[in-house]
């Protein structure tokens, strides 16, 4: 029975943590305000703990500090759920970075799971205890006011010149946005060689029938 949050919100967060239907399926019975969970047995207790944390009254939420022993739900060597409040940045951004550092590949026993609970502004982290110290450190490094942010990210828009680097299609930068025309298979090559492992982040606007085409690659 869901009491303090919406079923849609609860399912949204749970599906971020358990994205694969082979592992867990979630549904919500609005008539009875009941969350329905079908999961592998190994996840049942963990999911129940997550739901109990997420379905708390907003004003009574203990956001925790990552050190709160009340957040611990399992033994030292098993995945442990902790919550990390974020104050300065989008929690989804924190989740994206954590996911890039701890890839959550498709495995029944994925060793790391991350989600952002936007209702309480906390990042939910399920990972082995010995990883939590690093997660806490990383979260505090990422969750800094904009003026204190580090320069670990490369702004590709600052490197590319559409007149020089366009490969196919008509590209231009307008108001800080890289735009392509409706040419089929529009392409542009960024003058940058990424490291062996990296993440490529892009914010996409407009008509997806047009702007989601376009491809970018790297060169130096």
């Amino acid at each position: 029975m869901v009491k303090n949050t919406s079923g849609d919100h609860l399912i949204s967060v749970l599906r971020t943590i358990y994205p694969h239907v082979e592992h867990a399926r979630f549904g919500f019975d609005k008539n009875n305000s009941t969350l329905i969970v079908l999961s592998l047995e190994q996840y049942a207790e963990q999911i129940a703990q997550i739901i109990s944390r997420l379905d708390t009254p907003a004003q009574a939420t203990d956001r925790g500090t990552g050190n709160d022993s009340e957040n611990v739900i399992a033994e030292d060597m098993l995945p442990v759920m902790r919550e990390y409040p974020v104050k300065h940045v989008d929690g989804d951004h924190v989740v994206a970075i954590l996911s890039s550092l701890y890839p959550t590949v498709v495995e029944p026993n994925a060793y790391a799971r991350f989600a952002f609970d936007s209702r309480r502004n906390v990042v939910v982290v399920i990972i082995s205890e010995h990883h939590h110290a690093n997660v806490k450190k990383l979260t505090s490094l990422v969750d800094t006011p904009m003026e204190k942010a580090s320069k670990s990210e490369i702004d590709l828009l600052g490197l590319v010149n559409p007149d020089v680097h366009a490969v196919s299609g008509d590209w231009k930068i307008s108001d800080g946005v890289l735009l392509a025309d409706d040419a089929p298979a529009a392409r542009i090559s960024f003058p940058y060689s990424p490291p062996e492992e990296y993440y490529f982040y892009r914010r996409i606007y407009g008509n997806p029938a047009v702007s989601l085409r376009g491809a970018a690659s790297f060169s130096r």
Partner: protein, 76 residues
Amino acid sequence: MNAGRPPHARLEDIDGHSVIGNPTLRKVNFAPGKHYVSVVQVRNRGVNCFINDLPIVEYSTDYTDLSRNPKWEMPA
């Protein structure tokens, strides 16, 4: 993203398959005028793709089965 109608997202090419036969093909309901954020995580053990933080592709690979589709050919 946006392969065919209705739109789909996928990681391409896998074993030479772009759309048909691509195991990562997934329908995504893109809406005109809406903002989307895509994140592609390239790791030694595989590729993870997210749209608006929703996992679209989590593909374990050593990259021998991945290739660039000819239509996206880029200069060497």
